[in-house]
Symmetry: C2
Subunit: 326 residues, 2 copies
């Protein structure tokens, strides 16, 4: 198992330059007042394709040699990795097939298609996406790009953390905590790798929806734990069955305790972002914000970074979120 290191993140930063956009750090007064903390948001919903996933996808695809590029690539994705892959493939002139659950948000499926990738749908509960992917790889010679259990993908996501670290250094700020929305843990691992390299004492926290807190439990037990369910959360982007092996190897000795929020708290954070921050977030991209909002004044006086990991939400779900909060 090849583990990415900080150098790989730095190389990825150079590789994605001019393709991924560097997202800013935002520090909205309304959140600072609410929490008593100095809060910096890293809005990866503003990233190309609406989530951080483009970073890892582009980094991984740009490392393929000519032969591999000609044979095309295969990805499995609930939508954000798929969009990242489709866009990276489009820019690099690579044919991409994305295997997506049939209950993925319509917007995500449509956008993967619009970016030029072929889409194959499967049933999230009864289907076996790994088998589908294997078959495609065997019959076409395509390269499989895992959404998180892949060193180049993790190194690419790590550029989120490196941008955070460099921007904080420029402002002479030292973070106490970083909250990261966590599915398979690729983003979290990349962020932990790079932020801890610069700020050795910072506490990086996974943030997950209730019932899908495999990462929190795995960190606690010291081994990879599974979720009992495979669906049933609005946070479709991050309900992976268990931590990836590579991300867990990176994270196990680096992370602080994990945080868990309910679907309702995630939806309230989506509504808060719409009303107060003027940012469009999807529930899975808002769990870090939800974890901060539910903490009240617990982090008062501290400096907190929250990664807002994605904004690909169907209008209907946004309406539901907004209806639930006055």
């Amino acid at each position: 198992m090849k583990l990415p290191v900080f150098e790989d993140v730095k190389r990825a930063t150079r590789r994605i330059h001019g393709f991924a956009v560097p997202t800013p750090l935002l520090s909205p007064p309304v959140i600072n007042e609410l929490t008593g903390a100095t809060v910096y948001l890293k809005p990866e919903n503003l990233q190309r394709t609406g989530s951080f996933k483009f970073r890892g996808a582009y980094n991984a695809l740009s490392l393929l040699d000519d032969e591999a590029r000609a044979a095309g690539i295969v990805a499995v994705s609930s939508g954000n990795h798929g969009q990242g892959i489709a866009e990276a493939a489009r820019l690099l002139g690579i044919h991409a097939t994305v295997i997506m659950p049939s209950d993925a948000p319509a917007m995500k499926i449509e956008r993967v298609r619009r970016l030029g990738a072929a889409v194959e749908l499967y049933d999230r509960v009864t289907g076996d996406r790994e088998a589908l992917a294997r078959e495609l790889v065997e019959t076409t010679g395509a390269t499989f790009i895992h959404p998180f259990n892949h060193p180049d993908v993790i190194a690419g996501q790590g550029t989120v953390g490196l941008e955070i670290a460099r921007d904080l250094q420029a402002m002479e700020e030292t973070p106490d905590h970083v909250f990261v929305c966590t599915g398979g843990g690729g983003l979290t691992a990349g962020v932990a790798l790079s932020v801890l390299e610069v700020f050795a004492q910072v506490r990086v926290h996974t943030c997950e929806p209730e019932g899908f807190d495999d990462y929190r439990r795995s960190l606690e037990s010291g081994r990879i734990e599974q979720n009992l369910r495979r669906d049933g959360s609005v946070c479709d982007a991050i309900i992976t069955p268990s931590p990836g092996e590579i991300s867990f190897e990176i994270n196990r000795n680096r992370l602080a305790e994990g945080m868990v929020v309910t679907d309702r708290e995630a939806m309230d954070a989506v509504a808060f972002a719409f009303r107060e921050l003027k940012l469009v977030l999807e529930p899975g991209g808002a769990v870090g914000l939800a974890a901060l909002l539910k903490s009240g004044k617990q982090f008062s006086g501290e400096t907190i970074v929250v990664v807002l990991s994605g904004g690909n939400i169907d209008p209907e779900l946004m309406l539901k979120a907004l209806g639930g909060q006055k």
Copy 2:
């Protein structure tokens, strides 16, 4: 008539520091591809209170002496200036009364109240907000803070332009055009003042909704023209009856030709911002973006800055915008 100059904008920048947030410049690949231009968005929807208005309000209020602060202030506003005023007054410990049209978006009225200001409603068509304001000023000794026809307000809005200019200089970019959403012209005047100081050849354009293009017509005729209607656009934030005298004096020799978009184009731009940019915009804050989007490839090869001036939209109107565009 006292006209603000570039020095006043620089002073305002120092005055609002730590209260207004410096907003980033965003350059989403999706817009660059669509237009063939290098586009920079200035998202003032991410400003404190959800629009640029806080800048001018805070600058003006912080210049009041102790006696004036004690007597309180009065403002008329369709909502964004009111929120800016209410928030600035809250931070400075000043009592504020905001006179608002009864058809202003519910969210705006509620937010002005929540920030601690007293709200008085009037009918936009039959009421006389100036008379109401005059009466309050006479009976209470409060200071009237005009939403745009006020040198300190214009200087404050000019900080938007100064941030744009400094960020572009840091990236060694030279803008060809700047698109500004225009109501009474305070923001446009402030932006023109500061951007033209740094980039003498840039063309600054007013952007207005159809039927409310008083500024475009005034620039053409060389004198202040009125709108025929006083209501009937979704762009509630920018349907002022005519250019302000001060802003027009600044703008008349500085601006390029004005641009006009339909309400539908403004709403489509709101939907585009939601789906593609993950930003929440109100129609009045999206007319600049709408003007760019409707121009197709007209500005291909050029560098364009678009000010996104506000994001205070009711969820119902956002839903309407999203329903209108697949």
